[in-house]
């Protein structure tokens, strides 16, 4: 299941990134400390040699959710990247590959979030995915609705 793009608050000091960037899970909250989903560090290590990807800061604190679902990182994908579906597809393929490697004997439900800006480059919008890794490309349709 993919959500439609929803406007979100951006509370991080920095907001311009040249490449896909893993951002703190609490990017929308004005909190004293940043934290990431517990999968962020491993996914970043896995992905960084396969595509141009950055991470906002070292995930020193992480949110561990003891659920059978795979809670993936939150990604910031810039407007120019959104317009280039190939890069987004590469990211989605990497997420699928990572989850498949991590769970070779099962197909867990996966959850992740992609934050971007609308076409006018003003508002921050978020798309959330919640479903099997096999339907992950559904995310692309939601990004076509960004306006």
């Amino acid at each position: 299941m993919v959500s439609n793009p929803v406007e979100v608050v951006w509370s991080l000091p920095q907001s311009n990134f040249e490449k896909i960037t893993i951002i703190p899970t609490n990017y929308a909250l004005k909190e004293d400390r940043e934290y990431y989903n517990d999968t962020a560090s491993s996914f970043y290590k896995f992905a960084k040699n396969k595509m141009a990807i950055g991470i906002y800061s070292d995930p020193e604190i992480c949110l561990l959710q003891k659920s059978a679902d795979w809670f993936g990182p939150v990604f910031y994908v810039g407007k120019l990247i959104i317009e280039n579906h190939e890069v987004l597809i590469a990211l989605l393929d990497l997420i699928s590959e990572y989850v498949k490697g991590r769970f070779p004997n099962s197909t867990p439900n996966i959850k992740f979030e992609i934050v971007s800006k609308d076409k006018a480059n003003k508002l921050f919008k978020s798309v959330k995915y919640d479903g099997p890794s096999t339907n992950i490309k559904e995310v692309l349709k939601s990004f076509d609705k960004l306006n």
Binding site: Y35, T39, S42, P59, E60, I61, C62, L63, K66, S67
Partner: protein, 243 residues
């Protein structure tokens, strides 16, 4: 001088240990025989740890991984036998914990390599879960903020190495260790949990708390005006023995 073993010999030791343990891996087998097998499995697990550490020292990844799988299958059987003993001694909470240990060891063994009988063991464990224990509709699922910790493979801060959590590296499972919980973020009730140890141990019925395994009243009265009162495990910090 330490004896050198050929792979065929190691496989024979493994198969014999598995067959002997499987033969008593049933409810009706005596506690005496099951305890005897647990002691034997303890010594076999140590022996296979020794084989594996030798392969790790020689950086022989396929052999080290296969030996980790064998060690996990032996550990799974040991936990399964402990489960039966606890059931027979009416220690149901303990039995449930042993069964989940058995499942998790078995899952790691399956992840590493498919041995003969491994899939059957998984089916056997699932059968125990479904027929001996009640169906748990809900489990606790907690969210915590914690420090990233260190890598169990190389010992440095987890962000600073190249190892991935949950991957096997030359016979060792990468885990984040030495993590410190900073804050409990939330607790939810879910039907499919990450940790099946996190069950509701007591629930309320007609204003009385009952044991969720036996359904016997505990003697504690509950105030259920606003809903169900439950008591349960919200988190375990147990790590499987994979050294």
């Amino acid at each position: 001088m330490a004896r050198r073993y050929k792979w065929d010999e190691i496989e024979s030791i493994f198969i014999e240990a598995i067959d002997n343990a499987q033969a008593v891996n049933f409810y009706t087998r005596s506690i005496r025989l099951q305890k005897e097998q647990i002691n034997l499995l303890d010594s076999k697990i140590n022996q296979f740890k020794g084989f594996k550490n030798h392969a790790i020292k020689n950086k022989d990844e396929p052999t080290a991984n296969a030996l980790l799988g064998m060690q996990c299958m032996l550990s799974s059987l040991r936990s399964s036998l402990k489960c039966w003993i606890s059931v027979k001694e009416n220690n149901f909470m303990e039995a449930w914990g042993h069964l989940i240990d058995a499942h998790e060891y078995c899952d790691i063994a399956i992840m590493v390599k498919t041995f003969q009988g491994l899939e059957n063991l998984k089916v056997h464990l699932t059968g125990i879960e479904r027929s001996i224990f009640p169906h748990w509709a809900l489990y606790n699922s907690i969210g915590v903020l914690e420090t990233i910790g260190k890598c169990s493979i190389c010992g440095i801060t987890f962000n600073d190495c190249e190892h991935l959590e949950g991957e096997i590296y030359i016979g060792r499972l990468c885990q984040r260790v030495e993590r410190n919980i900073i804050e409990v973020n939330h607790c939810a009730l879910v039907s499919i949990p990450h940790d099946k140890r996190c069950i509701l141990t007591h629930i309320s019925r007609d204003g009385k708390s009952i044991d969720n395994f036996t359904h016997e009243p505990t003697g504690v009265l509950t105030d259920d005006k606003d809903g169900l009162t439950t008591q349960g495990v919200i988190m375990t910090t147990k790590l499987l023995d994979l050294d």
